[in-house]
Every structure is written in structure tokens, then in C-alpha cells.
């Protein structure tokens, strides 16, 4: 069957199970958009290409499927860049299709030409410039395969406009042949045996789980392991949702902004079991003070992550789920809980006490209220900043893929477009976005997408009229000499909402918190809740409240 390459791309999408693409049209993708018009695949028109990438990423994070987005050449493609890098840092499966100027024009700096494969090379798992029409089916097949296997990640395909228009005999390959790509799923037997022995003979084992546990759908295995070996479980930011917050063994989030119990557990452990986590600098702080553990087991599908940041004596390359299933066949069970019990119980004290704020609301009180009113099915999306860390620490997340946040790259402006993708993927579930006045304004234009698509996203803005995270850093590290953090030109967010015919509620008093959250959650349709929080509220608890050197770390 002779079809155009643009049609072939859409056919390949169908074959790969793609139901929706997020995009923004332009001259170099006109053939693709014409094929989209004829296709049954849903197109969600965003208001900025970065929004398309974040929406595809939110879609992928909440479903585990490959997120797809499309943009035109030049500025369309460069606008995607932040979204692609965000997905890359968090290992999110995505396929990105960009238009390119016609093959003969490449390299001549023609209108809207940019070398997007060159630009995205450092933060795509792989990318293609598809100059030959006959390569299109193979490249599409490979791109989806690479994106969703091994350590997942974004794959970009740049297709010149004339190639999109060219006709081919379409035959979709049923398998890929990539001799340079063969990820290891099954952990090495001897290493697993060694790990089992180390666990069985340990006194104070602790699990540290990251986003890899969620990507490999290994939450059941992690739960079984933790219970059988009686180990407290700490998560990274990306690992939130990999272990139920309500479980007694849950210790919280590690890291600079993590919980006391999680950091203390890791520090005092004699055996640290790291699962699908890359042990980034924000999670470990200074690596030499990170843990006293003499044995470290690290299971990860990406061999390059093992030993990169924290040295490991039992490295296991493999998929977390498959490898844990093998591990669980061994007698890893530990009955002796005594060496750990007192310490772990001690961790459990909730170090957060409500503080008196005079200039606005207590953000943590709002999150705790919200958390108590949401079910486990609720998907919480965050932006980046103080609100993200308050949410990470105080919102109870019990299911995987229900806490959606930009971890590695820390991309402000991620939240709203990501929530678009999450809601498109999960129309029947409650989707709540927590954002700040700074982050929200970075991608506020996507309110139009929410309106156009009729997406019922619940938007909670923590408004402190300041870039709180930066302000907090300036407070601690620059003696409170604040600069460049006041957001004096903030709009009236309820007027912004009404401009898009979106409902809104504004909260300034403590007594209004509960009814407002009720209204936000119960309202049918998109709604913005603006909470005026105290600009003095910080993420790091006041020094002295828990003066443990592992808890309050300087930024390394």
C-alpha cells in the first residue's frame, strides 16, 4: 500500500498503541497534521510546545505508556527542549516527532531551521534525523522500542517536510534489530545469592527506593521484601508512590529536604538496599556522610548508575521487578527485629508541629487537609519549588503513578501542562495540581488547553508573592539578603481564571481552608484555588528543632 511518510508515522503510532498526541502545528509539520486530521488519534493542541512535551511526560508518568508529542522545526523544536530534558532526567518514556526543513535545505540556515538532533543529543536516550523515506517504519519501530525498554527515556525523530510528503510502501516491522542495544533484565544469579546472604545476616537493613521501582512496576515486590526482611523503606523524590506512605515501615523521603526518619534510617543502617535509584546529589548530600552502611546492594537496569555516585559492593544489573522476584525466592526473611526496632520506632515521631504564621496561611496545614480529603486514587501533580517539597513530605501517597513531579531537572512550569497530560490519560480520576505563583505563571497559558479540552483539573496555587525556594536559599546561605525573588507583578489569579471561564476560590483565612478544599475537590470542572500562604514559611525546619547533621545539610 502506497502512503505518505506522514501517514506512515500515524500508522506506526496506531501500531504502538498511541491514543493521543500533544502538539503544536507549524510549516514543517503540515503533512503530519494533515495525516493527523484523517487519523482517529486524538490531538491535544497546547499553547506552547514545552507544554506538549510536559503533557506527554505527565501522560507517560501516570500510565506507564509512551507519551507522544509533535512540534514543528526551529522554534517549535527548541521550545520542546526543556520538556525533553525533564523527561530524560526522570527516565520517562516518550517519543517526540519534530518537523525539519526539506532535506536539500538542511545546513543552509533556512527559515525555521535548527539542528534539533544535535541540540537534544545530550538529553535524549536516542535520536534520529530521518532523511530517507524508506527508513521511516524502522525508525518509528526502534524509537518506541528504545523509549519503553531498558532504562526508559525520550527518543526524538526529526523528519524533513519533503520526507513526510514522500510515498512509501508501508510495512511495519514486527521486531527491531539493534545490535548495540540489549538491556539486561535478569540480574546475575550469583550476585542475587550474595545479596540474599547479605540481607539474611544484616542487623539493620534499610531499603532506598527510587523511580525505577515505579517504571518497572515493582511495588508489590518491594512491599514483600520490606515486610519479609523487616526493613524501613525510604524513597527518593522520584520514588514517592513506590511504597505506601501509610505502611508502618515507611520512613519517608530522603535527601536535603527529606524526612528525619528516612535520612536517619539510611545513616544508621548496616545494609543499604538501593532499588532503581540513581542516588543523585539532592538525595545523598555529601556521599561520604550519607550512610554508615558497610554493605550496599544496588539493583538498577542501567549499569552506568551503579557505582556512579555511591560505591556499591553488591551491584546487580537488572530490572528491579524481575530481579526482586528472584531474590525473594531465597531465604531472606529476618525475624530478629530488635537491633532496628527501637531506632525505627524513634524515627516515627512527626517532627512537624504547626507554626504560628502571621502573614498568611501555613502551607503544610493545607497539604495535610488536602491529603486527608483525597483518596488513594487521586493523582497529585506538583510544580517545582517549596510547594513540591511540602507535598512530597506531607501528602500521603499510597499508590504508584499518583505523585507526578519533575525530579531530576526541577523544571518550574512543569505542573500545569503535566496535569493536562495526566487528566487526558485519566479522565475519570481526580487530578490535583499543587503549584506556586512562580511556577504557575511559567505555563499559565495552558489554562486555554484545559478549557478547550474540557479538562477537570483542580489547581491549587500557593501564593506567597515570592519565589519561595530561592528566597529560602538566600535566607540560609546569603544571610537573608533577598534579591530577585519578589513577585510584585502577580496578577489576580481569580480574574485569570474567569478570563478562561474557569471557576476559582480564594483563601486567606485558616477557617476557609477546609470548605475551600471541599469545594475544589467536589466541583465538576476545572477550578483554581488560590491560597495566600506566609512568605516566611520554609521547607527546612528551623535549626534546632531536630539538630541532626544528616537532616540539615548544606548544599554540596
Amino acid at each position: 500500500m502506497r502512503i505518505t511518510c506522514a501517514q506512515a508515522v500515524l500508522k506506526a503510532f496506531k501500531e504502538e498503541g498511541v491514543e493521543v498526541v500533544f502538539g503544536y502545528p507549524g510549516g514543517a509539520v503540515l503533512p503530519l497534521y494533515d495525516a493527523l486530521r484523517e487519523s482517529t488519534i486524538r490531538h491535544v493542541l497546547v499553547r506552547h510546545e514545552q507544554g506538549a512535551a510536559h503533557a506527554a511526560s505527565g501522560y507517560a508518568r501516570s500510565t506507564g505508556k509512551v507519551g507522544v508529542c509533535i512540534a514543528t522545526s526551529g522554534p517549535g523544536a527548541t521550545n520542546l527542549v526543556t520538556g525533553i530534558a525533564t523527561a530524560y532526567m526522570d527516565s520517562i518514556p516518550m517519543v517526540i516527532v519534530t518537523g525539519q526543513v526539506p532535506v536539500e535545505m538542511i545546513g543552509r540556515d533556512v527559515f525555521q531551521e535548527v539542528d534539533i538532533t544535535g541540540a537534544t543529543e545530550p538529553f535524549t536516550k536516542h535520536n534520529y534525523l530521518a532523511k530517507d523515506r524508506d527508513d521511516i517504519p524502522r525508525i518509528l519501530k526502534e524509537a518506541f522500542h528504545i523509549a519503553r525498554t531498558g532504562r526508559q527515556g525520550p527518543v526524538l525523530i526529526d523528519i524533513p517536510r519533503d520526507v513526510q510528503e514522500a510515498s512509501i510502501d508501508f510495512k511495519y516491522p514486527n521486531k527491531v534489530s539493534l545490535r548495540g542495544y540489549n538491556p539486561t533484565y535478569k540480574g546475575h544469579y550469583n550476585q542475587i545469592k550474595k545479596a540474599a546472604h547479605a540481607i539474611a545476616t544484616s542487623k539493620r537493613p534499610v531499603l532506598c527506593v527510587g523511580g525505577g521501582v515505579i517504571s518497572s512496576n515493582a511495588t508489590d515486590e518491594v512491599l514483600e521484601l520490606a515486610r519479609r526482611i523487616k526493613a524501613p523503606v525510604a524513597t527518593t523524590l522520584m520514588g514517592i508512590g513506590a511504597y505506601p506512605s501509610k505502611d508502618p515501615l515507611f520512613a519517608g523521603m530522603i535527601g536535603q529536604y527529606g524526612s528525619y526518619s528516612a535520612n536517619k534510617a539510611i545513616k544508621e543502617a548496616d545494609l543499604l538496599i538501593v532499588l532503581g535509584a540513581r542516588m543523585g546529589d539532592r538525595a545523598t548530600g555529601k556521599t561520604d556522610e550519607f550512610t554508615k552502611a558497610t554493605q550496599i546492594i544496588h539493583i538498577d537496569i542501567d549499569p552506568a548508575e551503579i557505582g556512579k555516585n555511591v560505591s556499591t559492593n553488591i551491584p546487580i544489573v537488572g530490572d528491579v521487578k524481575i530481579t526482586l522476584r528472584e531474590l525473594l525466592k531465597f531465604e531472606v526473611d529476618r525475624e530478629d527485629w530488635s537491633a532496628w526496632q527501637d531506632i525505627v520506632e524513634g524515627f516515627k515521631r512527626d517532627i512537624y508541629t504547626t507554626r504560628q504564621y502571621t502573614q498568611g496561611l501555613d502551607p503544610v496545614a493545607i497539604i495535610k487537609e488536602l491529603s486527608s480529603l483525597c483518596s488513594d486514587e487521586t493523582i497529585l501533580v506538583t510544580d517545582v519549588g517549596q510547594h513540591q517539597l511540602w507535598a512530597g513530605r506531607h501528602f500521603e501517597v499510597n499508590r504508584p503513578r499518583t505523585f507526578i513531579s519533575s525530579g531530576g531537572l526541577g523544571t518550574m512550569g512543569y505542573g500545569l501542562p503535566a496535569a493536562v497530560g495526566v487528566k487526558v490519560a485519566n479522565p475519570d480520576r481526580q487530578v490535583v495540581l499543587i503549584t506556586g505563583d512562580g511556577s504557575f505563571q511559567m505555563s499559565m497559558a495552558e489554562l486555554a488547553t484545559i478549557r478547550q479540552e474540557g479538562l477537570s483539573v483542580k489547581i491549587i496555587i500557593f501564593n506567597n508573592s515570592t519565589l519561595g525556594m530561592v528566597r529560602e536559599l538566600q535566607q540560609h546561605y546569603y544571610d537573608g539578603k533577598y534579591y530577585g525573588v519578589e513577585m510584585l507583578g502577580n496578577p489576580d489569579f481569580s480574574k485569570i481564571a474567569s478570563a478562561y471561564s474557569i471557576e476559582s476560590v480564594k483563601v486567606e483565612k485558616e477557617t476557609e481552608i477546609y470548605p475551600a478544599i471541599r469545594k475544589i475537590l467536589d466541583y465538576e470542572g476545572a477550578i483554581i484555588g488560590e491560597f495566600s500562604i506566609d512568605p516566611n514559611a520554609n521547607v527546612i525546619p528551623v535549626l534546632g528543632r531536630c539538630s541532626d547533621e544528616t537532616y540539615i545539610r548544606r548544599i554540596g
Binding site: T117, E121, P122, K125, R179, G180, Y181, N182, A304, K308
Partner: protein
């Protein structure tokens, strides 16, 4: 500490930029990189000399392996056959020309071009041999020099091959 890596890659456009880009963005230092096609025209082989400790070499190897178009990465042992080719244009007058030719012949280097004011010498060998010749020629005045970067192959039956890649 220097390490020599033999890297098999897909013979596609853009692979070189992916490999060299990886080195610069991860802060690895390349001392030399030589690339050419292998007995299989779909595969190119790079010989990369990296400076760094064992952590760096392990990271380089792992990160290279992550590139989809990298088929195989192996560390080549120091006792392998290691060669580099250099072309050296040296200032020469009728009075010292013979002396230069004699030095070249001691190094088993070839004179590949001759003119009234210069001689061009071609030498093949490892780094030490080339450096020694360069040192000898310095006094005559080296006008220009170009080196290929080293290529290396294991001794005996040991080969870097595609089967069982990664």
C-alpha cells in the same frame, strides 16, 4: 593513567558527534580518537585514548555502552600492538639533509617528500618512538607536524567482535 579503548560503532553519520559529545559533557578527557571502517562496512572502529583513573574508565565504558549506536566497548591491554602515524615536515639545507635522513633511517621512518628547504618524514610507531624522533628533529626546526592518533589491536587470537555484543 592512559587507557586505550577499542569501540565498535554503527557506521552511521552522526555517531562520531554522539561519541565525542559524550566525552565533553561528562568531563572525560580524550587524548586521541581515531576512527575508520572495519572489515564489515556497516561497522566503524574507534580507538580512543582516555586519561583518568579506574573510576573514569569504568564510567566512560558504561556511558559509551549506553549509546544505541555503540556496539561494543573493550579496553585494550597495554601490551597490544599500538601504532600511530605521523608526518613531520622539517627544515633542511643541503648541509644537514644527510644527517636528517640518517636519523630517519635509524627510526625506520620514510622520507616521503623532499624540497630545497624541507624534508617530510613519515613515521609509524607507538607514542614513545614518535616522541623520540620529534625530539631528535627539533634542532633542525619542525615546520609542521600531523599525527593520526593511535590505533591498537590485541595480540594473538583475541578480537573485538560483534557477536555477544554488550
Amino acid at each position: 593513567m592512559k587507557h586505550i579503548l577499542g569501540v565498535l560503532v554503527e557506521n552511521n553519520p552522526g555517531v562520531l558527534s554522539k561519541v565525542s559529545g559524550l566525552f565533553s559533557r561528562r568531563g572525560f578527557n580524550i587524548e586521541s580518537l581515531a576512527v575508520g571502517v572495519t572489515e564489515d562496512p556497516s561497522i566503524s572502529r574507534m580507538t580512543i585514548v582516555v586519561k583518568g583513573d579506574s573510576y573514569i574508565v569504568e564510567q566512560v565504558t558504561k556511558q559509551l555502552n549506553k549509546l544505541i549506536e555503540v556496539i561494543k566497548v573493550e579496553i585494550i591491554s597495554s601490551d597490544s600492538v599500538v601504532r600511530e602515524l605521523a608526518l613531520i615536515k622539517v627544515g633542511a639545507t643541503p648541509s644537514n639533509r644527510n644527517e636528517i635522513i640518517q636519523i630517519a633511517s635509524v627510526f625506520r621512518a620514510n622520507i616521503v617528500d623532499i624540497s630545497k628547504g624541507s624534508l617530510t618524514i613519515e613515521i609509524t610507531g607507538d607514542d614513545q618512538k614518535i616522541s623520540a624522533l620529534v625530539d631528535m628533529l627539533k634542532d633542525f626546526g619542525i615546520k609542521e607536524m600531523v599525527r593520526t592518533g593511535i590505533i591498537a589491536i590485541d595480540r594473538g587470537n583475541r578480537v573485538i567482535k560483534v557477536s555477544g555484543a554488550k
